[in-house]
Structure formats: C-alpha cells, structure tokens
C-alpha cells in the first residue's frame, strides 16, 4: 500500500507541475515496465478528467439517466411469448414491449436486452445458426459447471464451445428481435453495447476471441437464409451496420478475457445478430474447447450530445 501511495504521489507531482526530471524518468520507467502502474495512471487521469466535466448540479446527472431496470409498469407488453428457460434478462428480447414512460430530452435510457450466464440447464443451444430469438446456435457447445481448473466468470456454469470442423475457431450466435425495442427520437442515437467473457480450457497457445454484432433489415425469421454459406467477412452487403471487437492473447495469459463492442442500431433494423468466436490462432495446434460466459447486451438510447458508449 505504501508503494502505491508513493506511486500515486509521483503521478500527482507530474500532473501538478511539481515534478523533477528524475520524477519524469521514474514515471516513464514505471509506465514502461509495470502494467499495473500503467492502469493506475490511466485511471487516475480518468478520474481527474471526469471531474472536469461533472455537471454543476450533481444530482441532475443521476436523475437524467433512466438506468435499468425500468419498473414493470413503465412498459406495456404487446405480445408475450417468452419461452420458459431462456436465460435472458428482465427484458426478454422475444417479448414485444412498447415504451410508454415519458422521457425528458436529456435522458439516457439503458435497457438490458440480454444477460446470459448459462446458469439455466434448459437453455436452448443448437448446432447450427439459430432459427429463433430464443436459442443460441453455432458450433458444438454445451453448458458445463465449474471444473477443477476453471470457474465460471459469473455464477456456477458456463458454455463450453468447440472449434468448427473446418476452422480453428468455434462460433456461437444469437439473434435479437430489434423491432420490439424502443426507437431513438430526433437528436438521439440508439446503440447496442455488448460484452462477453472468454476462457481457454488449456492455456499456453495464442488464443483468438472475437465479438461481432450486425443489424439487418430482415426479421429474425429471415436471417437464417442470409447466413446460408456466407462468411462474416462477406456479410457487409447484407448488414445495415456492423461492429467487431477482437482480442489475440500472447499465449501466456490465463483467466477470463473480456471484450466488448458497440453497434449503431438504425431505425430500419428489425433484427440483430451477436456472434462470438473463440479458438487458437495457430491452425496446427490441437483443437481444445473454449469457455464463454457472462454475455450481456444493453440497448442505449442517448441524446447525441451526451452519448457515452461503452
């Protein structure tokens, strides 16, 4: 703790224009050699920068954010067809809801549309591209509990995903019905923020994890046809918007790796696909399972001037 205090004091001196040349050299050395210090340095600056843009009335910010979960009475169900056992969040994407709660122009709405920890053994997982909004689908996968070496990122269970027959990566997809989600109004933008965690069963090789999100004008039931024999890289012409985030590990990394991505969800979008992939970079390396857990997706509607994407 003492050492941390000294390091933070060093950062302070550099920012407050009190540092000596030796201080700067020490700061640079620590930034170069100590990843933990680098993180602390960036976090310290993040707090300092954040304080500069604090609203004058601090209470106003929190009251402006319609943070989830919204109360049940604030939503009006249009169609209720939630399948039992689908481990979605409070607002199941397979249920159509219309927003009736009035929002001020300055509000930011955060609506959870997916929260999957694979805790529910009855979760539907099929071994091809999913055919409905109520299933995960892709390469061979199954729900497993904590194993001796690995614990779930969230809860007590996770998804074990195998690589595809012809690929070093395994894919898992989920369709979200966007047509039932609230629309952005003029001066607002609507995005879906997705985060997912990945883990290698047998670390030691360079791993590759990707998270892709794409929106489509087609309805969820029509999406499967688009997917027939088409790779992600060739999907550009079919999508309205697309986002990708990827992580390649150095091969020495152990533990869960988390990646996130944000996609614009235009008004014309009727469906959206979240695709997760995991595998080894080296195609010659033996194929081993990878775990996926804690997949969360939030719809965010924010005024353009206040947009703070994840």
């Amino acid at each position: 703790m003492k050492q941390k205090d000294t390091q933070f004091e060093l950062i302070r001196r550099c920012l407050d224009n009190e540092a000596t040349d030796d201080d700067f050299i020490e700061l640079e050395t620590l930034l170069r050699e100590d990843a933990g210090f680098r993180r602390d340095y960036v976090r310290y600056l993040n707090v300092d920068s954040g304080l500069r843009v604090l609203p004058k009335e601090p209470e106003a910010e929190s009251s402006n954010v319609v943070s989830q979960p919204l109360q049940f009475w604030q939503w009006r169900p249009l169609v209720t067809s939630a399948a039992a056992g689908v481990a979605l969040g409070l607002f199941c994407a397979s249920v159509a809801w219309a927003i009736v709660v009035p929002r001020d122009a300055s509000e930011r709405l955060i609506l959870p549309v997916l929260s999957e920890s694979f805790e529910e053994p009855a979760t539907t997982i099929i071994d091809r591209f999913p055919t409905s909004t109520e299933a995960w689908g892709g390469d061979r996968s199954r729900i497993v509990g904590d194993v001796a070496e690995h614990q779930a990122a969230d809860g007590n269970a996770m998804l074990s995903l195998e690589s595809g027959k012809d690929s070093n990566l395994g894919y898992l997809q989920r369709i979200i019905d966007v047509s039932v989600l609230p629309l952005a109004r003029e001066g607002e933008m609507r995005t879906l923020d997705v985060v997912a965690s990945f883990l290698a069963d047998q670390p030691g090789e360079q791993e590759r994890y990707t998270l892709r999100i794409a929106t489509f004008k087609e309805s969820p039931s029509e999406i499967g046809d688009l997917w027939e024999g088409v790779a992600w890289r060739d999907m550009d012409g079919n999508t309205l918007t697309m986002a990708k985030s990827a992580l390649s590990t150095p091969g020495t990394e152990e533990g869960w790796q988390t990646i996130s991505a944000v996609v614009d969800v235009p008004e014309s979008a009727r469906s959206l696909v979240i695709s997760l992939a995991a595998g080894r970079l080296n195609v010659e390396a033996p194929k081993t399972p990878h775990y996926i857990d804690d997949v969360r997706a939030n719809l965010v509607i924010a005024p353009l001037s206040k947009r703070k994407p994840k």
């Binding site: 310290y44 600056l45 601090p58 994407p309």
Partner: protein, 177 residues
C-alpha cells in the same frame, strides 16, 4: 449540405463521439497539462473531420483516430512545448493500448464518478466542484481558502484517490469491474 454530406457528417459524429472520451484521455496521458490537452484535442477533431473517409468502419476509425492523436501530440511538442518531458515511442504505444483496451471499464468508471462525488462529505464535494470549475487557478483558490497551493493540491489528490476506490466498489457492485 446535401444528403451525402449530411450522412457523412452524421457518420463522423457517431464515430467521433464514441471514441472522444478515450481519445481525450489518451492525449491527456501524454501531455499532463489539461489546457494543453484541450488544445490538442481541438486540433485532433479538426484533422479527423477534414480527413474522414466515410468508407471507414468503426474499428478502423478508432485505430486511425488514435494515430492522428499521437501525431498531433508530437506536433504540439515540437512546436509549442519542446522543453517538456515527452515519453518514448514504446511508452506512448503502451498507453494507447491501455486506453483502448480499458475503454469500456474507464467509461463505467466515469459513469460511477458522479455517484461517488455525491457520496463525499459536503466540504470535499464543494471543494471538488469549485476547484474543477473552468478557469479556476489553484493558487487563487488556495489564497481564498487560506492554505498553500501545495496543501490544496494534496487535498485534491487524496480526494481523487478516494474517488478511485469508490468507483471501483461501485463497478464491482454493478458487475462492471
């Protein structure tokens, strides 16, 4: 502005706003001084808009915009702050990676910050609001408060550390840490 210009403009705004906070933080991490960082960020925004290619996707924009920010910091150092300490290329790259990789978590941290400031004792909360108000000079404020600027700097430093602890706890309780 015709339709295609408007679309290009909207596209640029979407991308820029998505990455603006991270870019600002990256620039700040290289320059220390808030005012200088603000000047450089203005230049970064101008260059990004002037050279924006609408064919870019979001990820390409992110990579490109960080490259532009890095060049603008170098240019600023060369033209206006040659005497200041600047980091080696390897450290600049490491900081860029840190900011990009931690972007989501840093965003959550900024979101949690307002709540944490509200939890501060009233005297500290008022001090933060006053000290961070635009245009306030620490020396002047220290005089007003009847303390040395060093004492005030240290007081603000302790509050920042307190807020870092608080945001970490907030994020842990929300499952975003």
């Amino acid at each position: 502005m015709d339709e295609s210009d408007r679309e290009q403009h909207d596209q640029f705004l979407r991308f820029f706003m998505e990455h603006e906070d991270a870019l600002r933080l990256f620039v700040r991490s290289l320059l220390f001084d808030q005012e200088e960082a603000r000047d450089v960020m203005q230049e970064v925004a101008v260059v990004l808009w002037r050279k924006f290619d609408p064919a870019m996707d979001n990820q390409s924009f992110r990579r490109w915009s960080f490259g532009v920010a890095r060049m603008e910091v170098l240019s600023f150092r060369r033209d206006r702050a040659r005497d200041r300490h600047s980091f080696g290329e390897d450290v600049v790259e490491l900081l860029e990676q840190s900011v990009q990789q931690e972007a989501a978590s840093l965003e959550c941290e900024r979101d949690a910050l307002s709540r944490c400031v509200n939890k501060l004792p009233q005297a500290q909360r008022e001090l933060v609001h006053t000290a961070y108000e635009s245009g306030v000079k620490i020396n002047d404020l220290a005089n007003e408060l009847g303390c040395t600027s060093m004492a005030l700097y240290k007081k603000l430093h302790r509050i920042r550390i307190q807020l870092m602890d608080c945001t970490r706890k907030e994020m842990a309780s929300e499952g975003t840490a």
